[in-house]
């Protein structure tokens, strides 16, 4: 058992209300965040890690609900790829989420949970909140911003909207805009949640009932998009679950069904259904070019950062073609960019798993 990485859990209420892309203003915004490694006296060694849709700030410390290791514990720690002996790593729970930062389950001004009264947020709003956190912590320019999937969207948004704040931008398995297919899968998930009678228009917090069935189905559908067909075939094939023959019924005959049901159910232990609605909406609204006059290269025109973009050959959620669009725009903006498509069998989830080539790229880029 590895030694538990020294981390600090903190929470900070932003000093000012947060202006949102929707035109609304979110008051009394709290961000919960974890830090690892010592902050240098000149505050020059900060790496901000952005988390993905269903992740949280527990990047390298055990999850308080599941007890599982942090979602990037393999890569973040003393002597690891993101070396906390050198770097001060910050990871904040995004707004709209449910692990301590302000989201739909948080109390509104009237003392009751927001529910669907929570304003629709964007990826840029999440980034604005985290920049406000950095400001409050007195941290100016970052050594690097790093993120995979939705974390990568935040990294790109950060580079575009706060071009002077990061020296390096590492975007893994991500996209500069959600495609019709991406939106479609998310809509399936949202409809599953809203079709659950326990959802109650989002006002379920005081009812003692939560839309677990809907949220579980949403998670199941999404989880398929995180895996590759080859990965599923290798892991499960058509093997049956604890039985010798098909049941001629609708029980989980196949291992893959049992696995998905488990993924769906266990997800409901740690995630709020309304947060899932809000965060998927933010991802669907993400179109970095649209925010910058329709030309993606213009999003990066003011940046002085070095960029590194990584895709995986089995990722069909945010495929290599999506990364190439980003790289092309960075080239057009004359930004220093590296790009590599890595070979890994795990589909989109490769960015979270043991891919030695990814370790080498991340370590090299952060040097």
């Amino acid at each position: 058992m590895a030694t538990v990485l020294a981390s600090a859990s903190s929470s900070l209420q932003l000093p000012k209300p947060l202006k949102l892309d929707s035109g609304q203003v979110l008051d009394r915004v709290t961000l919960a965040y974890e830090t690892y490694g010592e902050l240098a006296a000149d505050k020059s060694n900060v790496i901000l890690i952005f988390h993905a849709l269903t992740m949280d700030q527990y990047v390298a410390s055990p999850h308080p609900i599941t007890g599982k290791p942090g979602w990037w514990a393999n890569s973040v720690g003393p002597g690891k790829v993101v070396d906390t002996n050198r770097f001060h790593v910050i990871c904040a729970n995004v707004i709209g989420s449910c692990m301590g930062s302000t989201g739909p389950a948080s109390e509104a001004a009237d003392g009751r949970p927001y529910g669907m009264r929570f304003p629709v947020i964007t990826i840029r709003d999440m980034v604005r909140a985290q920049v406000a956190l950095l400001d409050a912590l007195g941290i100016g320019r970052l050594h690097a911003v790093v993120g995979g999937s939705m974390g990568g969207m935040q990294a790109l948004s950060f580079a575009a909207n706060f071009p002077e704040r990061a020296e390096r931008v590492l975007a893994i398995a991500t996209t500069a805009r959600h495609s019709a297919q991406n939106i479609a899968f998310h809509e399936v998930g949202r409809q599953a949640i809203m079709a659950d009678p326990n959802w109650q228009g989002g006002g379920y917090y005081d009812s003692g009932k939560t839309p677990d069935k809907g949220l579980a189905v949403a998670r199941m559908a999404a989880h398929i998009t995180y895996l590759s067909e080859a990965g599923l075939t290798e892991k499960f094939g058509r093997r049956l679950q604890n039985r010798d023959a098909k049941s001629f019924g609708f029980d989980a005959d196949f291992q893959v069904e049992s696995y998905l049901r488990h993924q769906g159910l266990s997800f409901t232990d740690r995630f709020d259904a309304n947060s899932y609605l809000y965060i998927t909406r933010a991802m669907d609204y993400f179109d970095l070019a649209e925010e910058h006059g329709g030309r993606l290269a213009d999003a990066f025109a003011g940046s002085s950062a070095r960029f590194c973009v990584v895709s995986f050959d089995t990722d069909w959620l945010y495929p290599t073609s999506a990364s190439r669009v980003i790289v092309q725009a960075l080239n057009a903006a004359a930004a220093p960019v590296s790009f590599v498509e890595l070979s890994a069998p795990f589909g989109h989830d490769s960015f979270l798993l043991d891919v030695p080539a990814l370790d080498r790229v991340v370590k090299g880029f952060l040097e």
């Binding site: 080239n331 057009a332 590599v340 790229v361 880029f365």
Partner: protein, 201 residues
């Protein structure tokens, strides 16, 4: 300590003649050998394009900026005049269409360094003449059926292509092994050639 002495002679020529502060794209940059020298000796923030992901990974690990891509198609992603110099070393003969790649180099860059193995070197000619077989030499060590060199070219062929396109030759260098040769008889004597080209006026 410069790594230049270890550079292949064609790369050393390119490194020597690259002006400081130029904007440079190295097409087929491999693991970044030339890029690293240009950065160390000339302070140039070179960009690379390389088809092999492992080589790109090594570039990134050296702190160099390299994009994985196939030069046959990926050059189209770069805007006109994005670079002062584009380098294509020992890659022209592997291109699907070397003539179109040349157009791309001089669209993206004001000038281009191009190096290639000369298929009209006397050893090649002898091998064909005496053995009647495709030559396998120290410089082109792979058999015809598995070589990446799908468009063998001679110094004279290359000059003819440049003339047809109206591309200007700024300078040229010819080598046999490590030894630099004069221009006279280059099509017989040179194992490989380096050209500095500029756009038609």
């Amino acid at each position: 300590m410069s790594a230049r002495h270890a550079l292949r002679p064609d790369l050393a020529v390119i490194a020597r003649h690259m002006p400081e502060g130029a904007r440079v794209l190295d097409v087929g940059c491999g693991d970044g050998e030339l890029m690293a020298v240009l950065r160390a000796d000339k302070g140039i923030d070179v960009r690379g394009l390389e088809i092999d992901p492992e080589a790109v990974e090594k570039c990134v690990a050296r702190g160099l900026s390299a994009v994985q891509g196939d030069a046959n198609h990926a050059l189209a992603d770069y805007p006109d005049g994005a670079f002062d110099y584009v380098i294509l070393s020992q890659t022209l003969q592997t291109a699907e269409r070397p003539d179109l790649m040349l157009d791309e180099l001089l669209r993206i860059g004001r000038k281009a360094f191009v190096s290639f193995p000369n298929f009209a070197h006397w050893k090649m000619r002898l091998a064909l003449l005496w053995n009647g077989r495709m030559p396998v030499t120290r410089h082109l060590p792979v058999s015809w059926y598995e070589t990446q060199n799908i468009h063998h070219v001679t110094v004279t062929d290359f000059r003819a292509l440049l003339t047809a396109k109206g591309v200007q030759i700024e300078r040229s260098w010819f080598f046999s092994g490590e030894t630099e040769l004069g221009t006279a008889g280059a099509n017989w004597r040179a194992e490989y050639a380096v050209y500095l080209l500029s756009r038609p006026h």
